[in-house]
């Protein structure tokens, strides 16, 4: 039995200050994560008194140990995740500044299993004024 996990993560970010008091920032990361069991092989055993597992039928409703071969697909995890953030900050004067930040996350669960389909998206736009004394 083989258990393999592969994760690729790509990341990019940038900061730009074109003028004193003005700054922009942006960042993104993209992850591809995959885990699986391979080479699971339970031969059908007559002692378990059931019909042989058919490749087209998921469950025959028997005690056949060959049903455990389904472990390969049940234990497969496959996610892609996007994380993006963009922001800007501007000092209007020495006492007041304004900041805007946007955040976006996207999780794509391509092989839902025990916890169901965990795909989802979240985003938030935050803006606030800052007063300095």
């Amino acid at each position: 039995m083989d258990y393999t996990s592969d994760v690729h993560t790509f990341m990019a970010s940038a900061n730009y200050n074109p003028l004193p008091g003005l700054s922009f920032n942006a960042g993104a990361s993209y992850s591809i994560a995959d885990s699986k069991i391979q080479n699971v092989d339970f031969a059908s055993d007559p002692h378990t008194d059931g019909d042989r597992l058919d490749t087209d039928t998921k469950w025959v409703g028997t005690y056949d140990v060959a049903n455990n071969n389904e472990m390969e697909s049940f234990s497969k995890l496959d996610y892609t995740v996007w994380d993006i953030n963009v922001g800007a900050s501007y000092a209007i004067n020495d006492y007041v500044g304004i900041t805007v930040n946007y955040l976006y996350t996207d999780v794509d669960d391509q092989d839902p299993y025990v916890y169901g389909d965990e795909s989802g998206q979240y985003q938030s736009l935050m803006t606030y004024l800052t007063f300095r004394f």
């Binding site: 039995m1 083989d2 258990y3 393999t4 996990s5 592969d6 994760v7 690729h8 993560t9 790509f10 990341m11 990019a12 970010s13 940038a14 900061n15 730009y16 200050n17 074109p18 699971v40 378990t48 998921k58 469950w59 409703g61 028997t62 005690y63 140990v65 049903n67 455990n68 049940f74 996610y79 995740v81 900041t99 996350t105 996207d106 999780v107 669960d109 299993y113 025990v114 916890y115 169901g116 389909d117 965990e118 795909s119 989802g120 998206q121 979240y122 985003q123 938030s124 736009l125 935050m126 803006t127 606030y128 004024l129 800052t130 007063f131 300095r132 004394f133």
Partner: protein
């Protein structure tokens, strides 16, 4: 403990006040006050499941929310005070602050709160021995929090699980001018988890007969830790005493277990209560509690110190005595043993610069763990037994390290480490005394001003790695036959699992490497001011086939590259890539029970 800190602060101020005039700013002292206040709004949105996309973000539950924050920094003479905070919503906020008065009195602390979303095991994959939906069969799982839910629908009820974490800590330090070199203080920490998470109740033949509960979580941990540090020139020492409590205010969770039907003697008769298994508790014993963390207390005495023998030699030492006690043992009628654990550890280390380029260090550590056994009470007096603790062991560790600067830009390191982990119980493993040898080498090289390379290799050898004895490969036994091989009446007699299932297994299993190789490399390169490149890789390869019928292998590769470019002063960009791969090759042994 808040009262204790208050008393300590009052005591400190009472001692400090006679010197107050000296601390406050006079007309010529520098003063500065900076205040920052922020206020705004967050507009939020989400689709589908928030459990991963917003796992630690409570804002996902609200469309629009006001956000606040601020900081203050005050410096006046010998007083420094600072505080900052951020409030996103009622379950996402953090604050911190510090006060320093002439380095005589110091106080710093913080508060943090956040939400952790948890998933729901839908149990839809548990279909091992049931007919498919729509075939007039019952899927053997259910949800206590959704009792009328149609479990044949191949869907799960909507249920949100999650836990709010709350933590605050504070440390107060007092350095009295009349006692130089002495620092006394106290540290307090409070941590609370509150919410709901999923818990499973499994009856006999538990792979199918599973019931999901929503378990109330309300658990509090508190640490009280006074300490004193003394610096007497060549000798410096520190003593601390930790008192930790874990209190569980959660609602109790009970489960009504399925009838423990005997596999060979037929189905359950509700009138005669006939044909039951011998040792399992079931519905006849009423609702039974499950999934509860016991309350506990822990005390730790910790002494550590360092003695500078000379400018080039020093000795460090330390001793820990810890006592942890299960406070729920009495509540559950565990007699005779209170389930205590005692831990003692001593450490001694010697470090010396033998020459300007050569540094050596020797380190030794010994640990004792003593832990109470537990009496297991099963139905029928002949089935009770005493479960010895798996924690009990003695661990001896010695280590030697050398660092040698071969050239001005090349430093070499080498080391050897030996550890003996001698378990007192755990008779089910092949060898309870596991000895580990580690050999390490490392080089750090700067061939040019813009390039540095670090490379290392570690080899680990475990003598008798952790392995379960006779854990797999049962020999086949024909039941229901007499000595001549004839089949009399089927299912005659009893076949205890200990003898006919576990007792027939003949081969060991392990996932602990006997030999392990680890290689690491990292390079930082900056050929010009505007460019910085970092490359790293780590590879681990482990194998074990000692006393096994198969070869266990584990490979890990973790590599990546980061590039930072600053084309102009006002702009910087970073690109990065990381690849992680883990492959384990082993055998998987599934015990299969019918009935």
């Amino acid at each position: 403990m808040k009262k204790y800190i208050a008393i300590f602060v009052i005591f400190a101020l009472a001692v400090f006040l006679p010197f107050g005039n000296a601390a406050w700013a006079d007309e010529d002292s520098e003063q500065s006050i900076h205040v920052e206040l922020s206020g705004g709004v967050s507009i939020n949105g989400n689709n589908d499941s928030p459990n991963k996309a917003a796992e630690y973000r409570s804002l996902s539950d609200e469309d629009t929310v006001g956000i606040y924050g601020g900081s203050v920094d005050v410096r006046s003479g010998k007083i420094e005070f600072g505080a900052e905070g951020r409030h996103i919503d009622t379950v996402d906020q953090d604050y911190s602050g510090h006060l320093d008065v002439d380095r005589i009195f110091e106080l710093h602390g913080g508060y943090q709160e956040f939400l952790h979303r948890l998933g729901q095991d839908e149990l839809l994959h548990i279909q091992a021995t049931s007919a498919a939906p729509g075939m007039a069969a019952q899927l053997w799982h259910s949800y206590e929090y959704a009792p009328d839910f149609d479990v044949n629908s191949n869907e799960a009820p909507n249920k949100d699980f999650g836990v709010n974490y709350e933590k605050y800590d504070a440390t107060t330090v007092l350095r009295l001018p009349m006692v130089p070199g002495v620092k006394v203080g106290v540290h307090y920490r409070y941590e609370n988890r509150e919410g709901y998470q999923q818990a499973m109740g499994m009856s006999k033949c538990g792979s199918c007969h599973v019931v999901a509960h929503d378990k109330d979580i309300d658990e509090t941990t508190q640490d009280y830790k006074p300490f004193v540090e003394v610096n007497l020139g060549q000798l410096s020492m520190e003593y601390s005493f930790l008192y930790r409590t874990f209190d569980n205010h959660s609602d109790h969770l009970n489960h009504l277990y399925d009838p423990a039907v005997h596999p060979f003697t037929g189905t359950w008769d509700p009138i005669t209560n006939d044909k039951y298994g011998g040792v399992n508790y079931d519905y006849r014993d009423g609702p039974l509690e499950l999934s509860r963390n016991p309350e506990a207390t822990k005390t730790v005495h910790h002494v550590k110190g360092k003695y500078d023998i000379s400018k080039n030699q020093s000795v460090s030492f330390g001793y820990i005595h810890s006592f942890a006690e299960n406070q729920s043992a009495d509540e559950y009628g565990i007699e005779g043993h209170e389930l205590d654990t005692t831990y003692d550890a001593g450490m001694l280390s010697w470090t010396a610069n033998l020459t300007r380029d050569l540094l050596v260090s020797l380190n030794g550590r010994y640990q004792f763990i003593d832990s109470d056994s537990a009496d297991i009470d099963l139905k029928g007096d002949s089935n009770d037994w005493t479960r010895d603790s798996d924690e009990e062991r003695n661990i001896a560790n010695v280590r030697a390290d050398v660092r040698y600067r071969l050239l001005r830009n090349l430093t070499l390191r080498g080391g050897y480490e030996y550890e003996s982990d001698d378990r007192k119980n755990q008779e089910f493993i092949v060898d309870r005394d596991i000895k580990t040898h580690k050999f390490k080498t490392k080089a750090k090289w700067r061939p040019s001003s813009g390039l540095s390379v670090t490379a290392g290799y570690k080899f680990t050898f475990r003598d008798d790695p952790y392995a379960l004895e006779d854990a797999a490969y049962p020999t086949h036994i024909e039941l229901c036959v007499d000595d001549e091989g004839n089949e009399p009446v089927p299912h005659v007699g009893t076949y205890p699992y200990g003898e006919y299932v576990y007792g027939t297994r003949t081969h060991n299993m392990s996932t602990d490497p006997e030999f392990e190789h680890e290689a690491k490399m990292k390079a930082n390169w900056s050929p010009m001011d505007m460019l910085f490149v970092s490359v790293y890789t780590r590879y681990v390869h482990g194998v074990n086939n000692e006393d096994l019928e198969y070869k266990y292998k584990d490979d890990l590769l973790d590599s990546g590259i980061d590039v930072t470019v600053t084309p102009i002063n006002k702009l910087s960009m970073t690109l990065g890539y990381n690849y992680l791969r883990n492959n384990m090759d082993s055998e998987f042994y599934i015990p299969y029970y019918h009935g």
